[in-house]
Amino acid sequence: MQRSVRLGVASLGITAFVTQVIALREFLTLFAGNELVIGVMLGNWMLLTGLGSFLGRRPGPAVSPVRKIILCQAASALLSPALLVAIRLVKQFFLQGIQPGIGAATIVSIALLAPCCLLSGFLLTRFGGLVADREGAAKIGHVFVLDTLGYVVGGLLFSFCLVHYFSPFQSLTFVMVLSLLSAVLLAMTAGRPALGVVVLAALIVALAAFWNIDVERLTARALYPGQELLHERSTPYGTLAVTRQETQINVYENGVPVGSTQDFVAAEETVHYALAQRPAAKHVLLVSGALTGAIREAAKYPLARIDQVELDPEVLAVVRKISAPEKDPRVVMISEDARRFLRRARGRYDAILMDMPDPSNAQINRYYTAEFFAEAKRALRPGGALSFRLSGSENYAGPEMRRLASSVYRSCASVFKHVLVIPGARRYFLASDEPLDYNIAARLEERRIETRYVHRSYLTAKLTEERIREAKESVSDTVDLNRDFYPTGVHAHLRYWLGHFGGGMAAPGLLVLVIGIGIAALVRASPDRPVSAAISATGFAGMGIEIVLIVAFQICYGYAYRQIGLIVTAFMIGSAAGAAWSARRAGDPRARLARLDGLLAVFAFVLAPALEALRAVDHPLIAAGGPPVIFPVLTGVTGFLGGAQFPLAAKATFQGAEKTFGRLYAVDLLGAAFGSIVISALLIPLIGIAGACYCLGGVKLASAVALRLRRGAPAESQAEVVRDTGAVAPFAVAGFVFAAIGLLIVLEETAAGVYAVSFVPAYHWALLALLAVGLIRAMEFDFGAAWRRSGMHPMRWIHFAAFSLAVFYPIFRCYFKIPYLFCHVCPRKCVFGFLRPWLVPAALIMNLEKRHWCYHACPIGTFYDCQARTGGKPARRPIVFRVTAIAVLIFTAAAYFMLKHDLAEPPAAADWYAFFYLNAFGVSAAVLATAAVLIVLAWRLRRAFCESLCPVGTFSDLMLKLDRAGRG
């Protein structure tokens, strides 16, 4: 059975990798393909898998029933192809043709990935419990190695075989079969043959279904409504689809239409602006743009040779199929990474005409950097012209677009003597060392080149003096140059893309916050906190260094799918090797962990100058050795140093196989998720590759130092901590809701929206109804044991969910410097102020008998209670708290009774309450700081706010004391 367990774990790894890669590619067809979206998709995958593996753990050494594991494995196998179908069909729920924003992308991806990833993580942890031929912490190392090996096999299988010869659905069917077979094997060898037969039957049924229904074709057709799908192919570089509507043939790349046979405007603009100005041109290079028909436009000139370079060979095949079959002997089609191709072409071309999309990720940004422009200039003959484009706007350039355009313009102008900007919805940049001008229409007429859009009839309106002047002005912002190792263009484009949608970075910000809180909660609940923190930091730094290396590789050697696949696989191999190596060695795990951390930090610090050197040096050995040797070795070493830490951490914090594995894997994946969202979209573009390396190294150094400084927790508190682990989840949820609401209220983009939502009448009715229910519960009728059991916890969370917006709102924004107190005179009530006349009396009455509101309804109370359960023993309430509580109560009463009028007019300076009046919904740093202090204090002092400040609490306390005194 052990062999089939091992096979099970390995097949889990294979399935996970292949599903992840395919799901990611499908998501990119659905959403945009920029670094943030990629990072969020990957981050969501890892977050959900981590969550799943955390949920899979159980206390103690009990072994999981094999039956459950087999069924879960079968379900997980069937979910893989189902995920693909779901992703394709979810497009139906969006407005046709719309590109969803990052908020929609985050939510939809979490919803779709949840079943698959949660189950996958859950299974991995449970499998860990099944391993019987290792003891204790060695089990965990063993499972980790097996899983990583599964990833390796999956990666190799996909990159070298599946992506080239099979459609995505077929690939997923293949891994589904693999997983189901391994489940059958497990069933047979674990003494459950009946179950094995059931799973085998399911396998046969599924295969038969897929044989008869061409799911791939059906779902692909659903992606292009109103079009007839002619041809669809999933290539290593993306998804290509050729469709027809009426007589127009459209080509889609990753769900975005990039060319259509009846649309010649893009092709004309790409070719004629530049080529018209170089009458002597003989050799021309077209970079991308084949699908728009640029070759046909270039062929109108008396050229000797037209080279069309395109990264994806499939694209060239499509071009050959759909364009007119006359073979122009001048045209040579080359499928290679354009930048790599350009490096070899010295002084060959009279014109380089580019039609790349906007620099939305590091891969495309390589074509807009100062170093690229220098390489392009070298490939040009003296005086040759380069032309490229960026998104623009005909009538007005917003600040983000100006930034992007200015950055690229300045990078170009730092290399070429003359750079011309052509205004329009697509903005074209012409660069050359010889002069360029705007008399394009005249030149075209002179040479009798037939054009329809790039023609006097349109250019006269497009190239007016005014518009040209505005275009020049819009690229004159002072911004940093866009460089290979400092890709400011990626960030500028991200901000421009985000500007299309409201809400900005709220969604990824919230996601990052969730992950951060999850990491904090997990680390806190672990028996040895620095060790867990170190593993999390390794997840973050490991993912970061891998991303840095992939970006650097693309810059130095161009983008080649197999080579990138090799690099990622090398990382996994290193990881598995490291885990296997360190599992066998003896020695104090904490010390070795710290040493590995230090090594990784040094590695990251050294990597920065090393990558610079690699890029600068132009030695044939480096050019040849880079892809197969240098970069795989670098990623392999990173993986090794990271993977070696896992079994050490397991040894240092062992509490039972499933429990430890679940926790460590979760914290590792959460760290990696954090990294994937933050590093490629923010860190690298904002501080450059070198800066990112130093930052990652710094993180590892910090965790190494933390390991050295803090010794492990003493044995006595282990039991307590074991108990507390179950309290992590509620606190994480409460913390997330609090922080999420706060973020939404504080951020300018979402503040108005939240305010509007909080005034929906239905919300107010719901709250009033809940208060009424709470009052009934406070009456404490006893309808028997069932009533007693059913009520408290769910009701408490319902109250939390409902009241949190209302009760938390004033903490983040209030018209006064002290929230909650002046609502009755507030000129612009928030939802709390609006509801206070009902809420506060109801709360006080609920507290008549027992502190029912405080303990069973108030969201602040619920938050503190969750926090208390994760902490240690509380101290006694200090005297100062009682004093402040009474003071606040008196002040509240004074504020209520002394201030009668509505402050529609701001108070006079002499009035005592003028000090508190802000006259706008302000975010008060003092209030936020106080709230933060109270939260931190609450780990020591139980319910810091409620005991020290809350007037409702103080008043209720007094009432109860009076009541008790009255009773005698």
Partner: protein
């Protein structure tokens, strides 16, 4: 249970009943002026009004609230609220516009670009826009202006008098209020148009027509022509693709015709959304009946823009078929736009079927009308001088 507990329980129960009754009462009465969501941006007004604000025309006070009646959204706004169009805010109980005299973009464009083919053809027109719009089209070409608040755009200081002066100084004979949505900078349009009219400069609106009737009639007195974007001919499409409704737009067209403005209608044909030939047929029939067969109709080719990036451009076959349907329905002047070099850019005389005006892009190549009449004597509707 003792007396104390009994009293406590009574108090709790009583309060609970009262709260419940209040909630239920609120639910059924649903007084709109009380709490509740309005179409707008709550509490989003700037702290201070700037120099380009004026008291808005066309609003009503309703107690503490203000109801804007400029467009059919009819936003009900409280103090410091901002309307759906992003440019009207309530301060001190009054509604103010934030876009009086601060356009963010001014260009001189050819008349044919608006598109206006039968109104002073071949002339230049000064086109401007401020920020803001009362629609939310996902394919807006000018989204950086129309979906922005005026505080976030870079604006110029061009009060109505200065605008008219600048137009006269450059020898341009007409002003177009375009790009975003002229309805929302209503006061600026009205005052500039009035001044321009005095000096013999014509005024053109390029609008989506989502405006209430009374404000429209007042505007019609000073504006000479309009090109209206009829995005579709069913409500569902209007709600999906713009966030507004069809009926007020049709009413706007009818009112403009009554007031004697020159109207041209354009329709952007978006694949899968507004390319249904039956819908186009119904629209053409309505235009013939309500506005007359001499109303020029432009079918514009769609190109991906703003959020609607994943649709291909409209096939020309569909545009040509739409044009055939329109001609069948009785319209005389149907043009296909946004397709450079398309033969249907020319104006064909409905009488003798000869080309009366030959166009090439934004250029007039041949103009064979004499005082608006074709050589055969047929009067071609339009404003030719």
């Amino acid at each position: 249970m003792d007396r104390r507990k009994f009293i406590k329980r009574c108090v709790m129960g009583g309060c609970s009943a009262a709260l419940g009754a209040h909630a239920v009462h609120d639910f059924f009465v649903e007084d709109n002026a009380g709490g509740g969501l309005r179409v707008g941006f709550r509490n989003d007004a700037p702290a201070e009004l700037w120099k380009w604000s004026r008291e808005a025309a066309w609003y009503e006070s309703r107690g503490e609230m203000v109801r804007c009646v400029l467009c059919p959204h009819e936003c009900i706004l409280g103090e410091n609220d901002r309307g759906f169009c992003r440019v009207r805010v309530v301060k001190n109980g009054k509604l103010h516009t934030l876009v009086y005299g601060n356009p963010c973009t001014i260009h001189i464009d050819p008349m044919e670009k608006k598109p206006l083919y039968h109104f002073l053809p071949g002339s230049a027109i000064l086109s401007l826009a401020t920020a803001g719009c009362n629609l939310r089209c996902p394919n807006c070409q000018n989204w950086e202006i129309s979906q922005a608040k005026p505080e976030t755009t870079q604006n110029m200081d061009v009060p109505p008098a200065a605008l008219v002066d600048a137009t006269a100084r450059r020898n341009v004979g007409s002003i177009a209020y375009t790009y975003s949505e002229p309805i929302i900078y209503y006061e600026y349009v009205r005052d500039s148009s009035a001044l321009a009219k005095e000096r013999g400069i014509r005024n053109v609106l390029v609008t989506a027509g989502f405006i209430s009737e009374k404000p429209l009639r007042e505007l019609c007195r000073v504006v000479d022509a309009a090109t209206l974007d009829l995005k579709g001919f069913n409500d569902r499409l209007y709600i999906k693709l713009t966030g507004s409704k069809l009926a007020p737009v049709l009413r706007c067209l009818e009112v403009m015709r009554e007031e004697g403005m020159w109207i041209e209608v354009s329709r952007l044909v978006v694949p899968t959304h507004s390319d249904d030939i039956e819908d186009i047929r119904r629209m053409c029939k309505w235009i013939v009946q309500a506005l007359g067969p001499g109303t020029p109709l432009h079918f514009l080719r769609f190109h991906p823009a703003h959020k609607l990036q994943n649709l291909p451009p409209t096939p020309t076959d569909i545009l040509e078929r739409a044009r055939d349907v329109a001609l069948e329905a009785g319209l005389h002047f149907v043009y296909v736009g946004n397709v450079p070099g398309h033969p249907t850019q020319n104006t064909v005389c409905p009488g003798c079927k000869e080309t009366a005006i030959e166009r090439d892009g934004f250029f007039i190549k041949k103009f064979l009308l004499d005082k608006g009449r074709c050589a055969c004597g047929e009067k071609i509707p339009g404003v030719w001088a």
